[in-house]
Symmetry: C2
C-alpha cells in the first residue's frame, strides 16, 4: 500500500461517539506517516441508521478500492451486528474487552448506551455544570475571598495557560479550579497576596518560557509593552522567584499541553 494514499476512518457509536473517537485517535496516532480522512457518525441508535451507515461504508469501499476503518462502541448487539458485517475493518471496543471484564466483575452488563456521556444522574450532571461556572466566575482572580471553595488554584503571569487548564479541569475532571493571575501590584510589592498563600497546599504555579509568552501576548496586543520580550523576561523571572520562595508546586506550560497539565494536577492531589 502506498504511504501517500489516505484511508477513510469512521468513528461510530449509538451515543456521542466520544469514547470511540478517543481510543480510535489514540491508536491512529501511532501511524505518523499515514493520512486518515476522519468521519464522525454518532447516534447510530436504530437498525435503520445502522443499515444506512452500512450502505455508505459499502459505497465508500467500492469508490476507494479499500474498506474503511471503523472504530466503534456499540452496546446493542443487533445494531452492532449490522456494522460488523458491513464492508469495513471493524474495531469495536465492547466486544473485545467485555467477555473478559464480565468474568472479572462477576456481573452481567446492562447493554445501555449513552451512560458515560449522557445526563444519567441529574445531580452529578448539575454539579459538573456548576464547576464550569465556578471556573468562569473565578477566572482572573477577581475574588480573592472565594479561594476556600476551590479544589485547586492555578497561578501564573498573564497568558501562561491558567484559564484553558482550569476549564479542562472543570469540564473533564469536574474539579473546582480557580485561577489567580499575578498582578502589577504583586510585582511592585514583590510578593503574592497573603489571602492566596493561605491556600498554599492547593496552589499550582504555571511557568512559561519568556519567548513563548511574548509570542502569545503579541497575538493579543501587537507591539505593546505587555508583549515585549523585556517585560516577559522580567515577569517570568519575578514569578519564578515568588514560586521558589514559597516552595510552590511548579508546572511548565511551555512543554506540557493543557491535558498534560490537568493530568499532572489531578495526579498530585
Amino acid at each position: 500500500m502506498a504511504e501517500s494514499v489516505s484511508r477513510t476512518v469512521y468513528f461510530v457509536s449509538e451515543s456521542t461517539g466520544i469514547t470511540a473517537e478517543a481510543y480510535g485517535l489514540s491508536l491512529l496516532s501511532q501511524f505518523a506517516d499515514a493520512r486518515f480522512v476522519k468521519r464522525y457518525t454518532p447516534f447510530i441508535n436504530t437498525r435503520e441508521k445502522a443499515q444506512a451507515l452500512a450502505n455508505e461504508l459499502a459505497h465508500r469501499a467500492e469508490a476507494e478500492g479499500e474498506k474503511p476503518i471503523v472504530f466503534a462502541t456499540m452496546v446493542d448487539e443487533e445494531i452492532n451486528a449490522v456494522i460488523k458485517h458491513a464492508e469495513c475493518h471493524y474495531f469495536e471496543l465492547f466486544e473485545r474487552f467485555m467477555p473478559e471484564l464480565v468474568e472479572v466483575v462477576g456481573q452481567a452488563p446492562s447493554h445501555k448506551s449513552g451512560v458515560s456521556h449522557g445526563v444519567t444522574n441529574l445531580e452529578n450532571y448539575e454539579a459538573r455544570i456548576e464547576t464550569i461556572n465556578y471556573a468562569l466566575s473565578n477566572d482572573d482572580g477577581m475574588r480573592l475571598n472565594k479561594f476556600h471553595k476551590a479544589d485547586v488554584i492555578l497561578i501564573g503571569v498573564s497568558r501562561s495557560g491558567k484559564t484553558p487548564t482550569c476549564l479542562y479541569l472543570a469540564l473533564h475532571f469536574g474539579m473546582r479550579a480557580a485561577n489567580y493571575p499575578i498582578t502589577e501590584e504583586d510585582f511592585e510589592k514583590g510578593d503574592l497576596p497573603d489571602e492566596l498563600l493561605e491556600h498554599k497546599q492547593k496552589i499550582f504555579a504555571l511557568t512559561i518560557e519568556p519567548e513563548r509568552l511574548a509570542a502569545i501576548r503579541e497575538l493579543r496586543r501587537p507591539d505593546s509593552d505587555y508583549a515585549s520580550l523585556r517585560r516577559c523576561y522580567k515577569e517570568c523571572q519575578m514569578a519564578q522567584d515568588m514560586f521558589h520562595r514559597h516552595s510552590l508546586t511548579v508546572l511548565d506550560s511551555t512543554t506540557h499541553s493543557i491535558e498534560e497539565l490537568a493530568s499532572l494536577i489531578k495526579k498530585s492531589l
Copy 2:
C-alpha cells in the same frame, strides 16, 4: 462475588491517561450495580515507575483478596510488560487492537507515547488554545460583528447551556463557537437581531424546559424575577417562537448533556 464489594480500578498510561480513563470508564459504565474505587496513575513512563506501580498492585491484591482491574494504554513494550505481569486483571488497548490495525494500515507503529494529548504540533496546539480564547471572548454575545469568524453560534435564553457547550466544542473539537443570549431587547422587539440572522446556517438554538431553567436560575439569583417560573415560561415560549419563525436548528438541553449537544452539533455541520 458479593455485589456490594467494591473493586479497585487503575487507569494507567505513559502519558496523560486520558484515553485509558475514557475507554475504561465507558466499559465500567455497563456495570450499573458494581462499585469501583478509581485510581488514576498517569505518566508511568519509566521501568522504575512501572515497577513501583506493580508493587502497589501486588500489595492491593493481597490486602483486598482480589486483583485490581487495570485499564491501560502503553506503547513501550518493556514498560507494558512490567504492568502486564503484575498482580492485576490487565486490559490494555494497544495490544488488543494494534496487531490487526498494523495489518490494515500497512505501516509500523511509532511506539511514541503522548502523541494524542501532548504538544506534538505547536501550530495546531496554539490554534486550539485560540479557539478556547475565542469561546471566552465571544461569550454572552458582546460582539455581534464577530460572528463571521465563528464555526457555530449557539443561541438561547440565559442559562440554557450555551457557555458550557461552546467551551466543550472549543476544548474537545477545536471549533470556534460563539454564543448569543437572547436579550431583554430582543424579547421586547419580539425578534432576533439581523446581524445574527445573517449567519442562520451556523446557528444552533438551545431550548430548555421552563421548570429546569427556573431551578438553575434560582441557584444563581434566589427569589428573583429572573428565576421565577412565570418569567422562565414566558422567555422559553418567546424564544421557541423565534426559533420556529426562522426555521433554526433546535436542540434540547434538558434531555441532552453538553457532550451530547456538542456531538449533535459537530455531526450536523
